[in-house]
Symmetry: C2
Amino acid sequence: MAQDRAPTRIQKKNRATILDAALEVFAAHGFRGATVDQIAAQAGLSKPNLLYYFPSKEAIHAALLEGLLDTWLDPLRDLDAQGEPLEEIIAYVRRKLQMSREFPRESRLFANEIVQGAPRIQDALRHDLKILVDEKVAVIETWMAEGRIARVHPYHLIFSIWSLTQHYADFDVQVRAVMGPEDPFNSAPEFVETLYRRLLSPA
Amino acid sequence: MAQDRAPTRIQKKNRATILDAALEVFAAHGFRGATVDQIAAQAGLSKPNLLYYFPSKEAIHAALLEGLLDTWLDPLRDLDAQGEPLEEIIAYVRRKLQMSREFPRESRLFANEIVQGAPRIQDALRHDLKILVDEKVAVIETWMAEGRIARVHPYHLIFSIWSLTQHYADFDVQVRAVMGPEDPFNSAPEFVETLYRRLLSPA
DNA sequence: GTCTATAGCTTGATAGAC
DNA sequence: GTCTATCAAGCTATAGAC
């Protein structure tokens, strides 16, 4: 921030514009592949002006990741231990798929980071992410023990939901290259719902 | 190549060493994030010596991708229309998971490329990949029409196999951050096999 | 707050000795 | 075939005018 006072409207607006531009560029080229020039051009600002709002390229990237991990995990947080097990999980899958559709850039930003070894968010994965997943795995295990959903490895169940749903954002070009003009998001929801109903319906 | 004659043993060995080093570095940092210096160091050569074997960084990357797409699709090519449908698909999933375990660097090389829009292999995706997938989708649709496996969207079925199996290579750090010391590959095969048996067993 | 100009570094690739 | 030295371009970040 340029000053210690509360940000003005212009400052808020410019920071938001920069972050949106940076999301676009980082998602498409990775941290190293993105240049400050590209981000500035995308944001409609000069390079020094952009660096007036953020001290460095690194700082822009960090600001993006920090805000995003929380948002990204919201659908899992909403998984309700008091709800009907199968429907809760299906609803989680649907929310996750919807995020891939609405926020593919955010998904690819994370994908870039994690494929390359998560050098900047490994701590967050080991702490925040692990704690949340462990908590929800406990819920799922209870449901399985009560025979309300079929028994499968709960961690792999969650990984499968992540991989399946994020695939449509992260590997979008490949999916579309194979499917042609048909929009994958038209048919994906029904497929994933069928998959998890058959996998988890009590025997 | 340095000369037009057939490569000597030393040339072959050095080219192989360079490609292996480049795979390591490109997989970990992406094309733009990798430097020729890093690759040379990893290969135990000087930078000019490396560029004696390949004309440019671009050429090394292209050589890697070219050789790899074929290998990567071999498991799908092996899907046999004459075999027992469910067992053929399960065997495909197992082979694919095994490749993620044995060749995680190759998986991440592709992941980096595709997440960033596949600028260098989009043509191969639209031609070679699409042709192969369309052919195998036809086989799967026949099986479904004959009632030998349950009916699901065949393209999404294949995407699900790719995403599920490659997730263990591409998102390895995240998987391990969540699961802790336990090796995900110990329990993954059983999970994916269960998943596809329940999804595809005829009603 | 925003710009032009530029410092200072990293990187891909080449020259030329051995 | 392999090296040291180096060039030219591209990059992040800053200086300083307005």
